[in-house]
Symmetry: C2
Subunit: 201 residues, 2 copies
């Protein structure tokens, strides 16, 4: 049984969103599953000196918004630049982790619903109220989810994942590991697919 | 007659090298030509706060060398990480510009020979001796080329191109303009090709 593809991401990363819409189909074509692992770019950037894409100097920040939109059209994924960007994603990440412990299918629905809410429908998933509404929309119990996200075990799990991502050299998102090989960026999906098809190249 | 594809690059940019090996074929498939325009990332980075890829913190710098090599294999382009990197490319850029004024075909041979010398054969094209040897290898007059590269008109032309690249928002290399639309990075060639095939998308 080949190992799952590890998909490390942050809910406020537009390229993570684009890749999240494609990675499961790529994995399935090659008999793999995907392990979705949230991390926090805000914490990572403190250790790597990274800067959010839109906090760069104007020629870069302008280009990146253009590139988000064009890359989304290129990939055939609905996208709308959120009016608040970036946002704190710790609550969304904890919610996902709690669901992953209790209902794997529900967790997947939550992941895609949260990404789409933020990057296609401009809903601020940093807000507890929006997360509660999303829970209801996918058939989860909003109260249980909000409580579960605040459990110490959930918080510890996110902290452990952030630490692991830093220890393994993750400096941006999405970062994808296939059999230990690291690929950074939505634009590396063609290389991920080649690796899955042929093995190391 | 459709306008040429503008290919802005720096001779010490590995992703520029990879793209330089593919852009003419892409252009030809869509009835276009390529205008190769050297710029200087060292000057650009001073205005945009950019940092050479290998001067980043270790997790990033390690990843980028891995990515140069893997992206080269993915593209089928010979690549060997140069032992000195990055290097000053002002003389190589001026040599190219002088040749472009005098012999377009020779200029193209020089461009590819210089990129390959540096990124496939670890020859430091920042050295005048290496540029002289390259000139001889492609059938150019090394003395005339070295003199031409130092002419005030050649220096002015490079300065004007660097200024133009900054004015147009170039912050990294390669940067490709198709009918005014900006694409940054070797990994955007698939989007460049889509644009050439379909127009704006």
């Amino acid at each position: 049984m080949p190992s799952p593809i590890e998909f490390w991401f942050d809910f406020s990363s537009p390229y993570s969103y684009l890749a999240s819409e494609q990675i499961e189909e790529i994995a399935a074509r090659h008999g793999r599953t995907v392990a979705f692992k949230p991390t926090l770019l805000g914490v990572i950037f403190k250790t790597t000196g990274g800067v959010p894409l839109t906090e760069l100097v104007p020629p870069k920040s302008r280009y990146f918004v253009l590139d988000f939109e064009r890359s989304a059209r290129f990939a055939g994924v609905p996208f709308r630049q959120p009016s608040e960007f970036p946002i704190p994603t710790v609550n969304a990440a904890r919610s996902l982790l709690w669901l992953q412990q209790h209902d794997a299918a529900m967790a997947l629905r939550f992941l895609h619903a949260a990404f789409r809410a933020y990057f296609a429908h401009d809903r601020n998933i940093g807000e507890p109220g929006v997360l509660g509404a999303l829970a209801a929309e996918i058939g989860a119990d909003p109260v249980a989810l909000a409580r579960g996200a605040q459990e110490p075990a959930t918080k510890d799990r996110l902290k452990a994942l952030v630490d692991e991502s830093i220890a393994r050299g993750v400096f941006g998102a999405p970062t994808i590991f296939v059999d230990g090989e690291m690929f950074w960026g939505h634009d590396r999906l063609p290389q991920v697919e080649r690796w899955l098809a042929t093995g190391p190249f």
